[in-house]
């Protein structure tokens, strides 16, 4: 860990880099809102955002957003409409990249944001899908962000809210899921990716200041590691400047978040 930036700031920068210029991005709650803002203001000025509550934008407001529904996110929008209309675009395969907040993920990228334990009397009730399942099933590829802990990165999630690759590469096709599946898991320790065509997550980069042993110890399955495993690039000064401008009080990116 560096004193230049917090783990959250590194995650936001890493998430932002998943966005390619010109893409249509389905932006979920919380950190992804900030990631889209950073991407727009740095390397992806033409990336567009869709928000499930019914907005399309081609630029991020130069303002703090606690939620996608904060008033500055409406001013300058290219379209303020119904949820079903933005979902329509995703159902048509128009969304290149979606972001989903995660609570628990497994080696095949299946996400659980619903129940830990028996759904009829769960040990922990999580908030639920929101648009997560829709993004996981319908977008061309998607990325999730979460804290890297053994209880979060597990061998097999007990409840699949937002399907990844199910039990292996062919599972999505067999079940008729139209979208492409997860592309990356950005955690507090590293970035996990999936092989072309789907399958099991592998560790692609480790965040500066962390070790492979630490990552393995914090992962609930026997983690595959990329042949070319390297460090996650640090946030640039420009990225950090934008993160701090869009989140001036560290609402999302303070070290204690």
């Amino acid at each position: 860990m560096s004193e230049r930036y917090t783990a959250q700031e590194l995650m936001v920068a890493a998430a932002a880099r998943e966005i390619k210029d010109g893409e249509l991005v389905f932006v979920g709650m919380r950190l992804p809102i900030l990631a889209y803002g950073v991407a727009h203001h740095t390397h992806a000025p033409r990336a567009r955002a869709l928000y499930e509550l019914g907005l399309m934008r081609e630029q991020a407001p130069d303002a703090f957003l606690g939620t996608m529904g904060d008033p500055p996110n409406v001013v300058g929008a290219l379209w303020a409409t119904r949820m079903s209309n933005v979902m329509a675009l995703m159902a048509q395969g128009e969304v290149d990249l979606g972001f989903i907040g995660g609570a628990e993920v497994d080696r095949f990228g299946n996400l659980n944001t619903s129940y830990i334990g028996d759904p009829s009397r769960p040990r922990t009730k999580l908030p639920g899908s929101g648009g997560g399942a829709d993004i996981a099933i319908l977008s061309r590829r998607w990325v999730t962000l979460m804290r890297h802990e053994p209880r979060r990165l597990v061998e097999r999630v007990s409840y699949v809210t937002s399907p990844g690759y199910g039990d292996g590469p062919d599972w999505r096709r067999r079940h008729g899921l139209p979208g492409g599946g997860p592309a990356a898991i950005v955690t507090t320790l590293g970035v996990l990716r999936f092989p072309e065509g789907g399958g099991e997550a592998y560790l692609a980069t480790i965040h500066p200041g962390h070790s492979l042993e630490e990552v393995r110890g914090a992962t609930g399955w026997d983690l595959t590691v990329a042949d070319d495993l390297g460090p996650t690039p640090e946030p640039t000064d420009e990225e950090l400047a934008w993160i701090r401008r869009l989140d001036p009080d560290g609402f999302w990116t303070r070290a204690d978040r």
Binding site: R30, E52, M83, T161
Partner: protein, 298 residues
């Protein structure tokens, strides 16, 4: 202005939302949440409600904690900027203050279920939710021939908060619409809460912006500030601090009960509530007027 369907929030809730009713709220997602209506449901000790909505940023959690709710039909219940819904957790994990039934949806599925009801279709087929365990924890979803059939959701009442309405309930809403239109069309009746109560000429000057048929609207409640702590375009910014305070205090059942006493049970109505809020900090001051539109006909 009075007349038409105008009444107080207490009257509207008392007349139109009986125990056991199914109620759609928070249909714009994060903005325009009718908190004032929710708080009145709590004060009137409504019981056995079914709550319908995509996500609920705080409101459903409050109603669950107050013991008003028997069933949740939603995609997400929690606190968008703070995370988990603590009352939701206590109810589902420990049955406190009572057991609730959860029917899981995704956001898109909530919308489709409301459109199915609006069009009186037996179901709507979709490919979303294929492969999700949501199919196992919602009996109103079924996979047939490779598509998910989403059965209709017909709320007894949809409660919406809009920027302006006339006394007959011709409501203008702007900003993100979420599932508001389909919730209103699907519902048997609508309660319109409005920031401004205006003359019919104002809303009829722009019939494209009228949300839904006034034939569905059973009550119009003039309730300025009724969405706090959620935002309302043109009027109020979101009160992130209030959300944080609620998350902090509701972490324990005791903390929640104190919060409830202080902000809901101990205040008679929305006006009294708003006196306790530092509102000026949240008020939108700059005006950004939409370009004029000409409906001329001759």
């Amino acid at each position: 202005m009075t007349g038409g369907k105008v009444m107080t929030m207490a009257e509207a809730i008392s007349r139109l939302v009986p125990d056991g009713a199914s109620v759609a709220m928070g249909t714009c997602l994060e903005p325009a949440i009718p908190f004032a209506a929710g708080h009145e449901l709590i004060r009137q000790r409504r019981r056995d409600l079914t709550l319908i909505g995509p996500i609920s940023d705080g409101l459903f959690d409050q109603l669950i904690g107050a013991g008003c709710v028997a069933r949740i039909r939603a995609a997400w219940v929690g606190n968008v900027s703070e995370g988990l819904g603590h009352c939701y957790r206590r109810a589902t994990e420990r049955g406190e203050p009572r057991q609730i039934e959860v029917c899981d949806y995704s956001n898109f599925a909530v919308s489709l279920a409301l459109w199915a009801a609006a069009w009186n279709a037996p179901y709507l087929p979709t490919r979303t939710l294929l492969g999700s365990d949501i199919l196992k924890t919602n009996p109103d979803l079924e996979v047939v021939d490779g598509a998910v059939r989403v059965r209709p959701l017909r709320p007894d009442v949809a409660i919406v908060h809009v920027q302006r309405s006339d006394p007959e309930g011709r409501a203008h809403l702007w900003g993100p619409l979420g599932v508001t239109e389909e919730a209103g069309l699907a519902a048997r009746r609508i309660i319109v809460c409005c920031e401004e109560l205006v003359e019919p000429e104002v809303v009829l000057s722009d019939p494209n912006r009228i949300l839904f048929p006034d034939t569905k609207v059973a009550a119009v409640v003039h309730e300025p500030g009724g969405t706090h702590p959620s935002p309302l375009q043109g009027h109020w910014r979101r009160d992130h601090g209030a959300y944080r305070e609620y998350a902090r205090r509701s972490r324990t059942a005791e903390g929640y009960r104190e919060w409830l006493e202080e902000w809901v049970l101990g205040v008679p109505d929305r006006r009294a509530y708003l006196e306790r809020v530092d509102r000026e900090r949240l008020r939108v001051r700059e005006r950004r007027l939409a370009a004029p539109v000409d409906y001329g006909d001759e």
